[in-house]
């Protein structure tokens, strides 16, 4: 695939150009505290490609926390139902995706689109979207993508991939859609030396993990082995379960968590609105079955389920990669301090004991 060397100005021009035809989303800083969100850019705004990893995963755009799917009205006399679809296709550009979030989208694609049943709501969000990734030249405190094979640079799934070099951005094309954009922009081709420079950026980024990714205690391959073979003592799960406050945050911020709930909310006048909301395996009601049976009633069994989903080989076969993309957000938001990196540590500590 083609490679180009593009200036910062040209990148901005690209973002503005795309805004003419697409909804363009990208990293932005929000005061107070300068928290980063990957959100819709206002007209004339450009993505902040130097911003830290967004505080919420990009899945918010493709699989929002709460989504109105349809409205319906049943006329009991005529025995007729009117159904009105509440989602519509809007071409989107996700501009400046961190590789972890890009990998998260690939996992969601496999869940929502890659199985027997194709999820139409997700498909409508995703079908016309353009993914532009951005190599991380250095990790943040909680990053662990080097352990989950999802960073610091994207390897697949993007339409365009950006890497900041000393003299501009190296743009790599990853798809025909991306090539069409590049052709329209008329960028300067890049050379082998720029690929070498990108390699150096990645190597420097990886080398700085021990120093910069301070919260990262995860070394997950051993934990994955233990998880898959089931050699983790129940007491470890109890220890982890005792610390779970059952808030659901880990699933809400996880780029790969795809569980949802459907609820029909009654409106005034007989209208009904079908809502899709994110769900979490940490909730007791999540696994409850008819007849009051709950295979995962104790909290430790529910926690066990989550980490099995993120770390076991059998689950990885489904995603063709580990279910964890190493963004470390679960560590940020967990009031019980049992984000995935800590859990990996507990599992390893037991194996080393």
């Amino acid at each position: 695939m083609s490679i180009y060397l593009v200036s910062s100005e040209e990148i901005k021009a690209l973002a503005l150009d795309l805004q003419k035809t697409h909804e363009v989303y990208g990293p932005q800083l929000k005061p107070p505290g300068g928290q980063v969100f990957f959100d819709l850019l206002a007209a004339g705004e450009v993505p902040d490609l130097d911003a830290a990893i967004p505080s919420m995963p990009v899945k918010e755009i493709l699989f929002p926390q709460m989504e109105r799917i349809l409205k319906y009205r049943y006329d009991p006399e005529a025995q007729q139902v009117e159904i009105e679809k509440q989602y519509a296709e809007k071409p989107k550009v996700l501009f400046g995706l961190r590789p972890c979030d890009l990998n998260g989208i690939l996992c969601l694609d496999r869940f929502f689109l890659g199985q027997e049943f194709v999820d139409d709501v997700y498909l409508v969000h995703r079908r016309q979207s353009i993914l532009i990734s951005n190599t991380c030249s250095a990790p943040w405190d909680q990053c662990l993508c080097v352990c989950t094979h999802s960073g610091p640079a994207a390897e697949e799934g993007f339409d365009l991939d950006l890497t900041r070099l000393d003299d501009g951005y190296l743009v790599q094309v990853g798809s025909a859609k991306g090539q069409a954009i590049a052709d329209a922009q008329g960028w300067q081709p890049a050379g082998e030396e720029h690929l070498a420079a990108k390699k150096a950026v990645i190597e420097r980024s990886i080398a700085s993990f021990p120093e910069l990714a301070k919260d990262n205690k995860a070394w997950i391959s051993r934990a994955m082995n233990r998880m898959t073979t089931g050699f983790i003592k129940h007491e470890i799960w109890e220890y982890i379960g005792n610390q779970c406050l059952e808030c659901g945050a880990c699933a809400f911020v996880c780029p790969t968590c795809s569980c949802f709930n459907i609820e029909d909310a009654q409106q005034c006048g007989g209208d009904c609105e079908r809502l899709r909301t994110r769900d979490s395996c940490s909730f007791e009601g999540y696994a409850r079955m008819a007849g009051d049976h709950n295979p995962r009633k104790p909290v430790e069994d529910r926690r066990n389920k989550r980490f099995f989903c993120k770390l076991s080989y059998s689950q990885s076969k489904k995603y063709l990669r580990p279910g964890c993309v190493g963004c470390g957000r679960c560590q940020w938001v967990c009031p019980g301090d049992i984000g995935l990196p800590n859990v990996v540590q507990y599992i390893r500590r037991e194996t080393s004991a």
Partner: protein
């Protein structure tokens, strides 16, 4: 940018929350990572605020009851009706009661207080969760000279020693519970005193699982051990010895008998002595207890404040004494003067058959259980204001809609006196007025219909919430340095305790040493207490307007459709019952109910817990039991549990 920062409006922690909104609807929630207390965390309630705010069960227009049915009305018509009807009652004689909401903003509460004083002229006011917090404020005020938390919730992050008295804090205020857990993980000593094995008890370094009703005794015993230790080591604090009430306090402590202590509480004095050594070694101490309807009784809170003063560590910047509120602005409602005075409680007036109460003005009554319902039904006139539809509406003659917390500017005062500003980030779909504007309109109508004496220099005429707040800063002690402009800059500011003349002058309460004998008997051998559960926060109807938390709520009730009583495995064995089997629970006051058994290793043998969201627990048991609301968390009802015949 569709993310707008605000303060979570559910419990009294005051967590930072972003709402994702398109200006018309709330689309999602995100935590505020830089927030000094919540630090990027939210609990199950905060994470689902978007679901609540999307509820279809909103009050959208003023309503007037006509021939038993509702009809919509204009603000002008409804306000005219309210003012005319309220004019029929004698406020000073106690005919009008006002029940404010601890979820209202300070601006709304302040304007309501003015309405109470200047238009309704009544002293019968209160908030839903009044009893406990008034006790907490009176006790802290006596001990530290101001009615508010000592120190900040952020002290948890640095303190050496954290004491949690009672409170199932990881469920009631999960983010505070989480911060305590983080503190334990960094090496702070976390001590929980609780008769059941709560989650925070399991996460603590030390859990004193005393017998029910003996927390105060245990706290006093800890104080005795601390004093004795310092006496032996010759490290008694000279300054503490000079404080008012010291001699009587120490005398009372000396009278504690270790034998009687152990018999009453089940805790050995040696264990307490060992704890006192650790407490003495700590540089900074944080003490937390729950305040509000399910809070502690006066004697226990006095034992807490006395212990805090005796440690002589409360002036350390990492020390704190926090009455943890279950509702977002309980502290603010007290600060704005809505909690009422002792003896003038709305609930007390409702409970007294001969009280002169004839009319009630109620805001946001989100409790699932309406106390004194029959009396309220028999009142001449009831007005209700709220953002969400609610069973209380059925009792009202006129209803006013209010904005939800994200639909108007407003400040909220968290448990640790941190005043924070939430900006309007979503339009109210029906152009409803925020509380302060509604009360102002009512006052305006009252002035037109009958001349009202407005105190000199206190005109109404607020154009926005910031102007109401400017008035708050002028008249409410502690708020004098605050303004909306300033609060908008960061994550709020604690109100200034220096506004109280006695701030810093510490005093001891007189303590009462008694050895509670269990109210249980051979006939009623179980001590029944009010249990708690995460999704049922305050029997609160708000959670029933969400999707996921409501499912969790329902899921428990599906497992135990008749509700459940938690008992220990030993008791279950003895009664020969299994999980989900029905039993009959009979109380010493003669009430009884059929309920399922839930077997839990976390409760002590001889104790039983029924969560408060089970309606009969309150209506059939607690209310019939003397003084149950005053005793709060310490309420114990002797019951008999039998296999259902």
């Amino acid at each position: 940018m569709s993310y707008q920062a605000c303060v979570c409006n559910l419990c009294g922690t005051g967590c930072g929350q972003f709402l994702k909104t398109d200006g018309r609807k709330v689309l999602g929630v995100a935590p505020v990572i830089a927030h000094p207390v919540s630090k990027g965390k939210l609990c199950v309630r905060g994470w689902h605020a978007n679901e609540l705010l999307n509820s279809n069960e909103r009050i959208t227009t003023p309503l007037i009851r006509e021939d038993g049915a509702w009809r919509t009305a204009s603000y002008a018509e409804a306000i005219e009706l309210l003012v005319r009807r309220m004019g029929e009652f004698d406020g000073p004689a106690g005919e009008i009661g006002v029940l404010a909401s601890a979820r209202s903003s300070n601006e709304d509460l302040f304007a309501l207080r003015r309405l109470v004083d200047e238009v309704f002229h009544t002293h019968v006011v209160g908030v839903g969760a009044e009893a406990g917090h008034r006790n907490s404020m009176a006790c802290i005020s006596h001990a530290f000279g101001y009615p508010g938390a000592v120190g900040s919730l952020t002290a948890i992050d640095k303190a050496d020693y954290i004491l949690v008295v009672g409170s199932d804090i990881t469920r009631q205020n999960p983010i505070i519970g989480g911060n305590i857990h983080y503190a334990a993980r960094r090496g702070a000593r976390v001590v929980t005193m609780c008769s059941s094995r709560t989650q925070i008890a399991k996460l603590s370094t030390k859990h004193f699982q005393q017998k029910p009703g003996t927390k105060g005794l245990l706290l006093n015993a800890l104080a005795k051990a601390l004093h004795a230790l310092r006496t032996v080591n010759n490290t008694r604090r000279v300054d503490v010895g000079k404080l008012p009430g010291y001699a009587r306090y120490i005398d009372a402590l000396r009278s504690i008998s270790s034998v009687a202590l152990e018999a009453a509480s089940g805790i050995r004095y040696e264990e307490i002595e060992a704890e006192a050594e650790r407490l003495d070694r700590a540089k900074s101490v944080v003490i937390l207890f729950s305040s509000g309807i399910s809070g502690l009784d006066q004697w226990t809170i006095q034992a807490i404040t006395n212990l805090a003063v005796l440690t002589d560590k409360m002036d350390d910047e990492n020390s704190a004494l926090i009455p943890v509120a279950g509702i977002s602005n309980l502290q603010g409602s007290f600060d704005m003067g809505l909690s009422g005075e002792f003896g003038n409680s709305v609930f007390r007036r409702l409970a007294e058959p001969q009280s002169p109460l004839r009319a009630l003005f109620v805001v946001d009554h989100d409790d699932g259980i309406i106390r004194d319902r029959e009396r309220i039904e028999a009142l001449d006139f009831v007005a209700y204001c709220g953002a969400f539809r609610n069973p209380f509406m059925e009792l009202a003659d006129v209803v006013f809609p209010l904005t939800a917390f994200n639909e108007a500017d407003g400040t909220y005062t968290a448990s640790d006196r941190r005043v924070q500003l939430t900006r309007k980030n979503t339009a109210n779909a029906n152009d409803c007025l925020p509380g302060w504007a509604l009360y102002q309109a009512i006052a305006g109508q009252a002035a037109r219909s009958r001349p009202v004496a407005v105190p000199a220099g206190r005109p109404w005429g607020y154009r926005d919430a910031a102007e109401v707040f400017a008035d708050i800063a002028r008249s409410i002690p502690g708020y004098h340095e605050l303004s909306h402009a300033q609060l908008a800059k960061g994550f709020g500011q604690h109100w200034d305790v220096g506004a109280f003349a006695n701030a810093g002058r510490k005093r001891f309460h007189e303590v009462r040493i008694d050895y509670p004998t269990p109210p249980t008997s051979d006939e009623f051998p179980f001590a029944l207490m009010v249990g708690k559960a995460q999704h049922f926060w305050h029997q609160n109807n708000l959670m029933r307007k969400t999707l996921i938390p409501r499912r969790e709520y329902d899921q428990t009730l599906l497992l135990y459709p008749q509700g459940y009583v938690e008992i220990s495995p030993e008791d279950a064995n003895r009664l020969k019952v299994k999980d989900k089997w029905l039993v009959r629970v009979t109380s010493s006051t003669g009430t009884s109910m059929h309920i399922a058994v839930k077997i839990s290793a976390d409760v002590q043998t001889g104790t039983a817990y029924i969560p408060y969201f089970i309606k009969n627990m309150i209506s059939d048991f607690l209310i019939h039991y003397d003084n149950a609301f005053a005793a709060g968390e310490e309420s114990i009802i002797p019951v008999r549990i039998e296999e259902k015949e």
